[in-house]
């Protein structure tokens, strides 16, 4: 029984001093809407949110945060909804969920005070990038006395010594990983999903890597500008995600080369790190460009308009990371290498600095929610509604 589950959880929370606070306005709106959805259920085929909803009769804070992060904001349920505005029930699931997701990110953020960086994320990103850019440009000037130099055959370390870069990026990256890790762990604890079987983990991995829930449940994709389905968002997201992962792989391989094999950069255009970075970089150019274009054309009732700066800021960061990286690669044998390197490092630093407090977080919270769903769906449904005679 769900009620028993709830009681048990509440008792455990009480004992552990973790009493869930009352729902705030955005969370209560999700609760209100899901009460209507649970009495209708027409959207069950679109994604995991609605089947997860039918396992509950009421929605506490943990449920609301879990379901909000399970929602991929595909828009299908809004266009299909007989209770969507202008209906007086004013049901807009993707919008209500998006608003709560912003709370999830900031409520669970570590350190706690940094959560507010999500609220003005556009400004956060702009400041971080501007600051990081200035830092590297000034640093280049301080180290070399000029931004232009005689060609250095792609030797970045002639501008910024390797150890200096490691000492700057490693702490920022580790901090980002730690901050996100702590945030998602807190979210996971509140969701209290129980143990994950290997089948559940495998399914989650599949759903994350394939973006299963952007296929609309029928394989035609999600909604963007209107009630027509499109696979564009899924494909551009794949280009972005896999482009990013290839760039990450390029850096990882280069790190191995450096520390394990003692092979120092620059690497040849045909070397593994450069090939990975080039292919990934191209994906990370086309993907974000496509996502930005889709974001501009997005139906105004999808998602939370207040989060557009965060979405676009992150998309722009990814795009410029790739653009500056590819430009650097193309011009690494010229006298502009130092300037391009400083710009690229500035953008990458901006990306790393804002990672734990921006759109990047969505991947981690959503993956956690998908894992909870994969665990939960393997258990018998606690609600045995009638009418199935």
């Amino acid at each position: 029984m769900h009620t028993l589950d709830t009681l048990t959880r509440e008792a455990a929370d009480l004992a552990a001093g973790r009493v869930l606070p009352a729902l705030d306005a955005d969370e209560a709106e999700v609760g209100r809407i899901l009460q209507i959805c649970n009495a209708c259920r027409y959207c069950e085929g679109f994604c995991a949110v609605f089947p997860a909803m039918t396992r509950r009769l009421s929605f506490d804070k943990a449920d609301v945060h879990y379901l909000a992060n399970l929602c991929h904001n595909c828009g299908a349920c809004l266009h299909a909804c007989q209770y969507a505005p202008p209906h007086e029930f004013a049901v807009n699931v993707p919008q209500a969920m998006a608003k709560v997701r912003a709370h999830t990110y900031s409520d669970f953020a570590w350190p706690a005070g940094f959560g507010r960086l999500y609220r003005n994320n556009g400004v956060t990103v702009a400041l971080a990038v501007a600051g990081a850019l200035a830092l590297f440009l000034v640093l280049a000037l301080a180290l070399k006395g000029t931004l232009f130099h005689t060609p250095l055959a792609g030797n970045f370390y002639a501008i910024f010594p390797h150890n200096l870069l490691v000492s700057m990026f490693a702490p920022v990256f580790l901090f980002a990983a730690l901050a996100l890790g702590i945030g998602v762990t807190r979210f996971w604890r509140q969701a209290a999903p129980g143990r994950a079987s290997s089948a559940a983990i495998a399914e989650t991995t599949h759903d994350v890597l394939r973006l299963t829930y952007l296929d609309g449940g029928h394989g035609k994709g999600c909604n963007n500008a209107d009630d027509a389905f499109t696979l564009a968002r899924r494909r551009f997201h794949h280009l972005t995600f896999y482009g990013f992962m290839l760039c990450f792989a390029a850096t990882s391989v280069a790190t191995l080369y450096h520390y394990v094999f003692g092979w120092e950069a620059p690497y040849a255009f045909t070397s593994l790190p450069v090939l990975l970075g080039t292919v990934g970089g191209i994906g990370l150019l086309i993907g974000p460009a496509g996502l930005f274009w889709l974001n501009l054309k997005r139906h105004p009732e999808h998602g939370d308009a207040a989060q557009k700066p965060m979405d676009r800021g992150f998309i722009a960061l990814l795009f410029f990371t790739s653009l500056t990286g590819l430009a650097l690669l193309a011009a690494r044998d010229t006298g502009a290498m130092g300037l391009l390197l400083a710009i690229h490092l500035g953008v990458v630093m901006g990306l790393f600095l804002t990672m734990p407090y921006g759109k990047f977080a969505h991947g981690f919270y959503r993956s956690a929610a998908l894992l909870k769903w994969a665990i939960e769906k393997r258990r018998p449904n606690p609600i045995g509604v009638g009418g199935d005679a």
């Binding site: 029984m1 769900h2 009620t3 009460q35 209507i36 649970n38 009495a39 209708c40 259920r41 027409y42 959207c43 069950e44 085929g45 679109f46 089947p51 039918t54 009769l57 299908a76 349920c77 266009h79 299909a80 909804c81 007989q82 209770y83 202008p86 209906h87 007086e88 029930f89 449940g217 029928h218 035609k220 009630d227 027509a228 449904n381 606690p382 609600i383 045995g384 509604v385 009638g386 009418g387 199935d388 005679a389």
Partner: protein, 474 residues
């Protein structure tokens, strides 16, 4: 320009729901130029189709989302049973057979099917569900129609039809005359026409006008203007003008468009009392999906057209969650106070019922042996005492889904005047469903009728337009 265009249209479709869209799509596929007039603005388009969720389908073997088999004869017997014989076998069998072969065409126009929803397992054999429900279907059809070049005008309610010897000449939207070579009427029933409902239900012995207390579960645009105009113009009608599909829904439902979610599914798990705190019907007569449709009428016959479904904590989680939270109390007296009914009478009714319960082995999935003895009216199944707080109560009122009155048709969906089919005027959907479904209802059959006769009407209208054009040029 708009008018010049409109005047040269082959097929005019009046209405904007499932049947109208099927007609428009088929007529366009047959090469006709098509103009569709929807009375509602775009955001309310689709009529009652937006509230539907599935199509009842004949099939002789398991098919994608449909399990087992549902042969023609079984479908026909089901229809015969629910209508009590108020059906036309030829037309009914036509719709049944068509339901077995229309889904590929529906898919082609963007409709996605899915297996039955949770809580609707009883329909997994007979009904193909639309992914996302009827509004998703309506959206898909509009997209396909626009892509094929069907012209669509919203906020264009047609007041009357200009006829000449039983042939369609033009439709009038206010002062605008829209001529066409052929026409399909698919503008729904009259359930949202308050005055007409009032007249149909009349006044009861208490001097009340019961229909004043009804909610309309569907669109506010089914005002029956065209239906009335056609009948007045001499079109043959069919179906009982005083009848409508009427279910018990949450009394807090909105006046229009409450749709599926306002239903209350806990009737068979408890008792239902009227405003005098008296029971009035066997709540456990049969499975709820087979009984929900009689409760609208039962509640409509009670004083104030109101009832209260009462359950205790044992029922929690056993029924589809209602859209609004019910009144909840730890004592029967408090519950009665919250519901605004007489406390003493309510407690007495519950005590009498509790004392009459003969509890065997409760099982909501079969017609179990829990029943009452010596109580009138009896509760014949699932009778458990109401004794475990918290107690819950949901106020019920009648909700009208659709009306049965329509225009008489033949197998070509032609409108008839004094028994003679019109050469170029056809009708589909709720405006003629009464030919097949004279009374009663079974899930998904409205969409079966709408899809079948929409497609038939569209095809014959396109053919009539072609013929009309040939004659005109001859």
């Amino acid at each position: 320009m708009e008018h010049a265009h409109a005047n040269s249209v082959d097929v005019l479709v009046i209405g904007g729901g499932n049947a109208a869209l099927c007609a428009a799509l088929v007529a366009r596929e047959a090469g006709a130029s098509v103009l569709l007039l929807e009375a509602a603005p775009r955001e309310w388009r689709g009529g009652n189709s937006s509230h539907t969720r599935n199509l009842r389908c004949m099939h002789d073997a398991p098919q994608d989302v449909l399990t087992e088999r549902y042969p023609e004869e079984e479908f026909w017997q089901d229809l015969l049973k629910v209508t009590g014989g108020m059906t036309n076998e030829k037309l009914a069998r036509l719709a049944i057979r068509e339901s077995s072969r229309c889904r590929d065409w529906m898919r082609k126009h963007g409709v996605n099917f899915q297996p039955s929803l949770s809580g609707t397992l009883h329909l997994s054999r007979t009904n193909a569900f639309f992914m996302g429900g009827g509004k998703a279907l309506v959206n898909a059809y509009y997209r396909s129609a626009e892509a094929l070049g069907v012209r669509i005008r919203y906020e264009s309610p047609v007041d009357r039809i200009e006829l000449e010897d039983g042939a369609f000449r033009a439709a009038w939207v206010g002062n605008e005359r829209i001529a066409a070579r052929a026409c399909v009427l698919a503008a729904g029933g009259f359930e949202s026409n308050r005055e007409w409902l009032r007249e149909a239900w009349g006044q009861n012995e208490n001097g009340e006008w019961p229909a004043d207390n009804f909610a309309i579960r569907g669109t506010r645009f089914n005002r029956g203007v065209l239906l009335k105009a056609m009948i007045e113009a001499g079109a043959d009608s069919i179906g009982d003008p005083s009848q409508s599909h009427c279910v018990a829904i949450d009394a807090r439902a909105p006046e229009y468009d409450g749709g599926i979610c306002t239903r209350i599914d806990c009737v068979s798990l408890g008792i239902v009392v009227n405003k005098h705190a008296e029971r009035f019907y066997d709540e456990g007569e049969d499975f709820w999906p087979k009984r929900y449709a009689i409760w609208g009428r039962l509640v409509a016959q009670q004083p104030g057209q109101i009832g209260f479904s009462i359950i205790d904590a044992k029922a929690n989680g056993r029924f589809m969650p209602p859209v609004f939270p019910g009144a909840q109390a730890n004592t029967l007296e408090e519950l009665a106070r919250q519901l605004g009914i007489d406390e003493a009478a309510f407690v007495r009714t519950v005590r009498e019922y509790n004392a009459a319960c003969r509890v065997g082995t409760f099982d909501h999935t079969i017609q179990d042996d829990c029943h009452t003895e010596g109580l009138s009216p009896a509760k014949t199944h699932w009778a458990l005492p109401i004794d475990t707080p918290p107690f819950r109560g949901y106020a019920l009122k009648p909700g009208i889904t659709f009306t049965y009155l329509g225009l008489k048709v033949n197998e070509q969906a032609a409108v008839h005047f004094s028994g003679q089919p019109s050469p170029n005027l056809f009708v589909a959907g709720e405006m003629m469903a009464g030919n097949v479904l004279g009374k009663g209802y079974t899930a998904g059959v409205g969409m079966t009728i709408g899809t079948t006769f929409g497609r038939i009407a569209g095809a014959h209208a396109a053919a009539a337009a072609r013929q009309g054009a040939t004659h005109a040029h001859a």
